[in-house]
Amino acid sequence: MSKSTTPVIELKGLKRRFGVGDAEQYALDGVDLTVKKGEFIAIMGPSGCGKTTLLNIIGLLDRATDGEYVLDGRNVEDFSSSRHAKVRAHQIGFVFQNFNLVERLNVIENVALPLTYSHVSHLKRLERASEMLKTFHLGEREYYMPWQLSGGQTQRVAIARALVNDPSIILADEPTGNLDSRSSHVIMEELSEVHKKGNTIIMVTHNPNLTTYASRVITMLDGRIDSDTKDIVVEEKKPAAKRPLGKATKTTKATKTKTTKKRATTKAKPKKKPAKKTTAKKKEANT
């Protein structure tokens, strides 16, 4: 899990404003976030809390109104739009809820598409796309057209496409949003495979069940980070030293009760290392 020390992404006081005057509204209102290499982050939160906006800004599809964004040690916030495009071509892979394959292109061409913009020759592109498809067990589907695939297969193609340019970070916006639960789990298994190979993944999801696959869960509320399991891990280490026993049972219980209190609508979130939610929340609010 997140044992590596290299931060891939550092966000400081990130703000994104929409509208002007009376309609002015902050979709992001001061987000601080550090993502280390090899993390699998799930971002949760109610609709309109700024999850997607955050993902778009991390993916350089959108610009922050204010704040700092450091990607791989470079402050990319001030880059020109063509340099943003270059960063997207080389360092970022997208997975979308509605897959977004190009209907005109067959599977292998879809997977090879990102390489077009990083100056790889046509043949090389197809070779790499073909390799990538094989790792997703889609080797026989190379020359299918997108409409000939099932939803799960389509999303696997999309994941292969996101990975083909060997990005430093993969951004997934509700990757299972359009899939049934069985395909959802297949996709999540694929994503955690990708994660195990050392890739960094940030995923936005509505489905609390999927957070089990993540190494770190962030909850957002009203444009701010509401809770972050990483902080909990840090907090927890001290008491863990004191009380090595009974950690697992206690914390699980605590989480369950806290979550149900906080959001009656959502079901219990099975988290890997949840604890002391309230302290975490307070800490977030203060920063």
């Binding site: 993916g59 599809l61 292109l105 913009y117």
Partner: protein, 410 residues
């Protein structure tokens, strides 16, 4: 690297154009019609000037032509094909002719005095005939060749004429007509020579010699109460004369004789081959503008279809941007797409244009001109149209917000 991206753009454009084949073909034909009409007009009007240019070239570099100054060409005269000055008296006079002949560099000079006259032999009245009064030098200047007999000269009697081959056939039913007589304005003339068939209805003299009756200058003057009426003077300069200097000399001489009024133009070299027919100039100008409109409409067709294609492919554009295409890349991709349409249209139009030009040339007395310039014009026009009308749609595509674009059709 840029090159390979271009190849990718081409591949992408080809794919998307092949997807909408009918639409693409219709748009291409829009451009093709525009380019075809321009090619036809250029080929035909180029054909005319190339004929004249060839004639001038055959005569050699020492030819100069003196004409009354052209009145300004205007579209207004299009509905009145007989230009207003058709019946006006030319400023060129017999003393001008003498002055031209006196210049040291002048080898020979021949006046052209066309006279409106009825020509008749028995009951035959050819409706197409021209009466020209000139001096014997015309034969050498214009290199007119005789089929039979001799050209008019200083010793032949008045009331003798040299006639064109076709006029001979029209009057007498044969080309062998030496010694036969015919009537000009009721006066009897004897045929002393028949010209070789030229087949040059268009030339720098504006006279079709196949249908001409050529008489001595003095005989011509008699039809005009003894007054010369010169439409044009053909001048041959001595071998090795600097024609530009000679032109200046002629112009200065004539201007001095005309109270410094610039009512006369002297043409040398290529200028002579410029179309001598104002009417034709106007026609080709009018047709060119119509062809230009056709091309413009074709361009609008491109823009239209590109805009449709771009709005259909909004999501694809958004995705391409998300996976690393910059605004410039997207713009280039769509410009290349519109260029493919317009260049294919240009190519088709060029071929179609020559096809039409050759069909039309069956009914007119000259052939269309084949030259690289016309190909270049067609190429430049089609590329220009593709660029111009592809620019705005491409710009629209490039400016699309990837987030908005990807959100569509959810």
């Amino acid at each position: 690297m840029i090159g390979s991206l271009m190849v990718d753009h081409y591949r992408t454009a080809k794919q998307s154009l092949e997807r909408a084949r009918a639409r693409t073909l219709l748009t291409i034909s829009g451009v093709a019609i525009g380019v075809a009409s321009i090619t036809t007009i250029l080929a035909l009007s180029g054909g005319i000037s190339s004929i004249v240019a060839q004639q001038v070239e055959e005569i050699g570099p020492n030819l100069a032509v003196v004409r009354p100054m052209d009145t300004a060409t205007s579209l207004a005269s299009l509905n009145n094909p007989v230009s207003q000055n058709a019946y006006t008296t030319s400023p060129l006079t017999e003393t001008d002719l003498a002055a031209v002949r006196k210049l040291p560099s002048t080898e020979a000079a021949a006046p052209l005095m066309t006279i409106s006259a009825s020509i008749r032999a028995g009951d035959e009245r050819p409706n197409k005939s021209t009466l020209v009064a000139t001096s014997p030098d015309l034969a050498s200047i214009n290199q007119l060749k005789l089929r039979d007999g001799q050209f008019i000269d200083s010793v032949t009697l008045e009331n003798t004429a040299v006639i064109g081959a076709q006029l001979s056939v029209d009057l007498f039913g044969t080309e062998q007509t030496i010694g036969r007589t015919f009537l000009i304005r009721g006066q009897t003339f004897t045929v002393i020579g028949v010209l070789k068939r030229l087949n040059q209805p268009i030339n720098f003299n504006s006279i079709d010699y196949d249908y001409a009756a050529i008489i001595g200058f003095n005989s011509g003057k008699l039809f005009n109460d003894g007054v010369a009426q010169i439409q044009q003077i053909n001048v041959l300069a001595k071998e090795g004369t600097n024609m530009n200097a000679y032109k200046k000399e002629l112009t200065a001489e004539l201007a001095a004789r005309h109270d410094d009024q610039e009512d006369i133009s002297v043409l040398v070299g290529e200028d002579i081959s410029r179309s001598s027919n104002q009417f034709f100039d106007l026609i080709s100008l009018a047709f060119s503008s119509i062809a230009g409109i056709a091309l413009f409409v074709g361009g609008i067709g491109i823009m239209n279809i590109m805009l449709v294609g771009i709005s259909e492919r909004t999501r694809e554009i958004g995705l391409r941007k998300a996976v690393g295409a910059s605004n410039g890349t997207i713009m280039m991709q769509f410009i290349i797409e519109s260029l493919i349409i317009s260049v294919l249209g240009g190519l088709m139009g060029y071929i179609l244009g020559y096809f039409m030009a050759f069909i039309i040339s069956m009914f007119i007395p000259y052939d269309p001109l084949l030259s690289w310039q016309i190909a270049a014009v067609a190429a430049v026009l089609s590329i220009g149209v593709g660029m111009l009308f592809g620019l705005y749609p491409a710009w629209r595509a490039a400016r699309k917000d990837p987030i908005e674009s990807l959100r569509r059709y959810h």
